[in-house]
Symmetry: C2
Subunit: 456 residues, 2 copies
């Protein structure tokens, strides 16, 4: 009896073709991380809800996948609670754990919990899936992978420089052309200060962050709606519309917001970062974007965002500096800075631009045809010899028709097929078929091994 089968919406199976490409992507990223001295950690899929709740705002709390307590989870639920429909109250009674929503909060929890065993500055990377009960849509999943790289316990702007270099390296190696946008929270604070509305910084940045998407007019509309005056907007206009290269923009910002404490600090920090970067060999386009806010309130210094050129897709990497992250778990004074690579979006970019290298597939290099019981013992010995020389090889397990075995090789993308029949065994010279060209040749096992190992 057939059953309707499937997987939860917003989740995915990855088949071998996708997995091999994904592994190529992750391996490239990991290798760069290691090159710069970052070390891997992993945290559990489930965290205590006390760790997660309240860290992502009210909306975030709703998007957490909550796990039912084991055993009689209802023991503390009274029927009246259902009548009152006090969902939140019941949830805390029946669920203590949730699936992680991102890697940042678990990392902060990890640092605080293990602070006595870590040496600071602690440079870590972490590549794991995260889960959000978001409405699934094209390119947005309920289970997706984040690749986070952070350094915690250092205020030095050299970390910002390093992150930009790593971003450049990763995308250089993946052959993706990018622009890296940089800003600093202190620039945004400075802007809010110049119009004497420091307390309205969130409304201000949320509005001007949308410049790319909705255009100047709509940004002004939103600002007015949020309670900024016409005068404010006149003052903001030249800041929002800042033009020129990064040096020119910095000069202009110095004039426009340099008189505020925060603004002046922000300009200085950005100048330092740009100055270091200018001496180094960076391929990516780097752009000061004074409207960049990334909506996240916990950034306190640098704000970083990466967009792919030549393709219509949102940001593929982003992050910044957060001075207070571990203070939510009671550990103050731990400044951190890091970025997160959006693996799923980067994958989509690479598929769209056909950037996965052809030889990324680590499939079987040679298939030995199975001619039946008589020949199979000999084939096994050949197989062992071939594999021991480091070649990926397999013997077709059943003595199916030759056509079926050839089709198997073809579908699996196996480039070479070796026919080990009665005659071949006698002569010690086997018939090798090149699947791409259809060419056949007679070859000894030693010649075959040599041929494959040379062509690597």
């Amino acid at each position: 009896m057939a059953q309707i089968i499937g997987i939860p919406k917003g989740t995915r199976d990855f088949n071998p073709d996708q997995m091999i490409k994904r592994n190529f992507l992750f391996d490239t990223i990991k290798t760069v991380f290691q090159q710069y001295g970052y070390l891997p950690i992993e945290t559990p899929a489930m965290e205590n809800l006390s760790t997660l709740m309240g860290k992502y705002g009210e909306e975030g709390d709703k998007l957490l996948f909550k796990v039912l307590n084991s055993g009689n989870y209802l023991s503390r639920v009274k029927p009246e609670m259902i009548q009152e429909e006090s969902l939140g109250k019941i949830t805390t009674q029946i669920s203590e754990k949730g699936l992680r929503y991102d890697l940042t909060v678990p990392f902060a929890r990890f640092v605080v919990q293990h602070r006595n065993d870590l040496s600071f500055p602690f440079k870590r990377y972490q590549i794991q899936p995260v889960w959000r009960a978001d409405k699934p849509q094209k390119g947005r999943y309920r289970e997706f992978f984040q690749c986070d790289v952070d350094v915690i316990g250092s205020h030095s702007l050299l970390n910002e420089v390093e992150l930009v270099r790593m971003i450049d390296d990763v995308f250089k190696q993946l052959n993706i052309e990018i622009v890296i946008k940089l800003n600093n929270r202190k620039i945004l604070s400075g802007i809010a200060q110049t119009i004497d509305k420091p307390e309205m910084i969130t409304d201000l940045t949320t509005a001007i962050d949308k410049l790319d998407k909705i255009g100047l007019e709509k940004v002004y509309e939103e600002l007015l709606q949020k309670g900024f005056s016409k005068e404010n907007i006149d003052y903001l206009a030249p800041i929002i519309q800042l033009q020129g290269d990064n040096g020119q923009k910095l000069e202009a910002l110095q004039g426009l917001i340099g008189h505020t404490t925060e603004g002046s600090l922000g300009v200085t920090e950005l100048k330092t970062v740009f100055q270091h970067l200018s001496t180094l060999n960076i391929k990516a386009k780097i752009e000061l974007d004074q409207s960049l806010a990334r909506g996240l309130n916990y950034y306190t210094g640098a704000i970083i965002e990466v967009k792919a050129l030549n393709v219509l897709i949102g940001s593929i990497c982003g992050g910044g500096r957060y001075d207070d992250l571990t203070s939510i778990f009671g550990l103050d004074g731990m400044s951190g800075v890091g970025v997160s690579f959006g693996a799923d979006r980067i994958y989509d970019v690479m598929e769209e631009l056909e950037l996965f290298p052809e030889n990324v597939h680590h499939t079987t290099q040679v298939l030995l045809v199975n001619f039946g019981e008589e020949e199979v013992g000999h084939s096994l010995l050949l197989l062992e010899k071939i594999q021991q020389s480091g070649i990926r090889a397999e013997l077709y397990p059943d003595s199916d028709k030759l056509k079926k075995q050839m089709k198997y090789a073809d579908q699996k993308g196996i480039p070479l097929v070796l026919l080990v029949g009665e005659e071949e065994i006698k002569s010690g010279s086997y018939n090798l078929k090149h699947m791409k060209t259809g060419l056949q040749e007679n070859i000894t096992i030693e010649q075959l091994i040599k041929m494959i190992n040379i062509s690597l």
Copy 2:
């Protein structure tokens, strides 16, 4: 305000040291899998409960971690239900998804769901965490990793031979001495048939499977308790206590159960597997164990179990053939055979026997000391040069005291520290400290790069 922090019981954080060792373990296993033509897949952490429930027995259902539905999950729960305490009924109303309990059932679901896109025999491996609400204890976790390798869609016993070869290869490369125990469900059926109790095969195998743990007397006791007669036990005694090498055991089994249909088939299958293996270069000890059942009812042919020698720990790898796995999802006739490597236990064995190679750590190879703003620009250029030659290097981000920077290198296990001070910059010859010996030498960057690349 400090908050009590921690992670759910039975789960773990992995620090860099553990991660690097775990990655070494997984990479070794993956490389062997690929060598034999197996390809990776991954499935979502959450599966529909309709996929999972009923597949692991009543006990298994209880151990599933169930995920609360999003939104107003209570909409279908009535207060009366709470009063009736109908836990199961309420659970189905408020939870539709669960965390995967193993990789076998998701794999069966995957095969059925994607059967039109797969070419059979389909050889796949899958390395992912699984979750069980088991009582945590030493060596048993609520989140742990399985490494499964299976071939589905082939009845050939060559697959069994291949699995034994792969097991041998994996543990040979990990330097773990093992014994591979082999049995066949048909041997167990044959035994049940010879005493005319085929319907009691589960009770029979459950009891004799415990031979190693509880000894002969207790096994007999359990059999009597389960309703087997004294006469049955007299007949079973020589079968249970079978001695000798594999050939002798097979001969004896032929005499004892060869007259039953199943018993005869079982002996023939085992003979074929042993015959092939005898011609190949296998390092592990291979042992026919006629009492091996692995408690799992879905095995229909081969049963495989691996134990590490020289260490007191349960099985570290096991599996077998299951002819009907995909039929639970409506697809018949798909015979599969595979094994699962218990990554966490293998890790423990390697730690206990100190088998992780010393050079497994891919930490930073050289640290550049930070002497302050004046020198840092020059250091960045050197760093870039060193990294571009493929060396893992980092510049300490802050101009902390030398002692602190040295301590950082020491704790992170960085073998070389380069001092880039004012004098050194002028001369182009830098002071290099070998952390292990304490030796110092003057060296140019070109010499440093050459030195590290040669020592690899």
